[in-house]
Amino acid sequence: MNYNFEWDVVLSGEYAQWLYEGFVTTMQISVVSLVCAMLLGIIICVMRMTPFKPFRWFALAFTEFFRNTPLMVQILFWYFGAYLVIPEGIMTWLNELYVFVPGAFTLFGHEFVGEWMLLNVEFFSGVIALTVYTSAFIAEEIRAGIFSIPKNQLEASRAVGLSFTQAYRYVVLPQALRIVVPPLISQSLNLIKNSSLCMVIGVSELTYMARQVESYSFRGFEAFTVATLIYLCISLVVSLCINLYNKHFMLQVKY
């Protein structure tokens, strides 16, 4: 193998700046999608568990459909084909929408708190796709967590006189939460990894930037190594979180 490694090309100057910006974008898109996915996931999960049949059917169809189609296709759909499901007025409004983007660039001399800029349509489509895809998984995780609490817990708390809401609030949910958190953390890691797919619609996240550096400088090995190491660090931090959580909060409960 004849290849001269030139690490300083990638680790300093403009290319390092690009990779850093890619990392920031990856984190931004992941955090925004994670928050939205949690909310949507909880809503879907609640719909799935209500006695009202149409809600349940909708939630079931939602989770089954979005879990069983590739994220790549969903991203392409939300970017190229969203005109079919989003009315034209909203599309025009979105294209002219100004959003406040908090700046996170303080490392390389830049220091700005944030600015108003045109909504980045690629970023927005990526967020929608990641949100919908991840929320289907999150809804299933939460449901599995609630179902893992034996039914007699609910029955017993109803029998001692708690209302349905109280029983869920004080008995079932606190126990379910403890079980649900680790899978949710690993879902958020999946989300960070999945955000790399947004490069196909031109969101300038880490993988996209690594490609960019590769095609500008022909330093593919170095660029991909740096990007891979960044992803690995993220995943190490996340699995550390899961381990710490398990150590401190996971009580072994036998039913």
Partner: protein, 238 residues
């Protein structure tokens, strides 16, 4: 709405420009859904053996067997599949000195990627068996390897089947990533048709999403049914 675009190109979505002839490997230019399925089936087949080896290595007590396996599993599971595909596509030529077509290099990436997940499935499956099974097998005089092959694995593998099917489903979905390096599988055929027609993006992407959904959903529901059936025969600890 331009559903006729979808209808006119439907055969292209299903098998692309696949040609069958008498020359080895008898099938050329695979494309469309057929290519996706072939990629997934080959991927899961090779990944099974890799995953089995690394999963058992991870369970071993010998550090020189365990740590390489831990390293492999943790690294691969921490990296996005897209990154792996790029590694094998752009960088394998530099390392090996010759070009690898997209189909093969994405297949290698899928095998390596899925292997790590299957290794975890194998590990979990073996650990889920009550420890009495291994102890009893060792107690009757079988060696560790014999106990594994004749007692533990036959039971563990049966319990793992639903997880394998789920992994296969996820691999089928992941084959869509091969589009990025130009493998002519279902997603790429859709993008091609979309770029040519320009007026039916939503219809095209909905159609291929439904095609993927049919394949994956059939498999998911099979695995769910199997899970129910298998849980009846499981050996339980006291």
């Amino acid at each position: 709405m331009h559903w006729e675009v979808v209808w006119n190109n439907f055969d292209y979505f299903l098998w692309g420009a696949t040609k069958f002839d008498g020359v080895f490997p008898y099938i050329h230019n695979v494309g469309g859904l057929l290519a996706s399925i072939i990629l997934a089936v080959l991927g899961i087949f090779f990944a099974f053996w890799i995953g089995m080896a690394f999963g058992l290595m991870r369970l071993s007590k010998k550090p020189w067997l365990r740590y390489p396996s831990v390293f492999y599993i943790e690294v691969i599971r921490g990296v996005p599949l897209l990154m792996l595909i790029f590694w094998f596509y752009f960088l394998a030529p530099v390392a090996m000195g010759k070009n690898l077509p997209g189909f093969q290099s994405s297949l290698i990436a899928f095998v390596i990627f899925t292997g790590a997940y299957i290794a975890e499935i194998v590990r979990a499956g073996v650990l889920a068996l009550p420890s009495g099974q291994l102890e009893a097998a060792r107690g009757t005089g079988l060696s560790q390897a014999q106990a594994m092959v004749f007692v533990i694995l036959p039971q563990a593998l049966r319990n793992m089947i639903p997880s394998f099917v789920n992994q296969f489903v996820s691999l089928t979905k992941d084959t869509s990533l091969a589009y990025v390096i130009g493998v002519n599988e279902l997603t790429r055929t859709a993008v091609q048709v979309d770029n040519r027609e320009m007026n039916a993006s939503a219809e095209i992407y909905i159609t291929i999403a439904v095609l993927y959904f049919i394949v994956c959903w059939v498999l998911t529901s099979t695995s769910r049914r199997m899970e129910k059936q298998l849980s009846r025969y499981q050996a339980r600890g006291s």
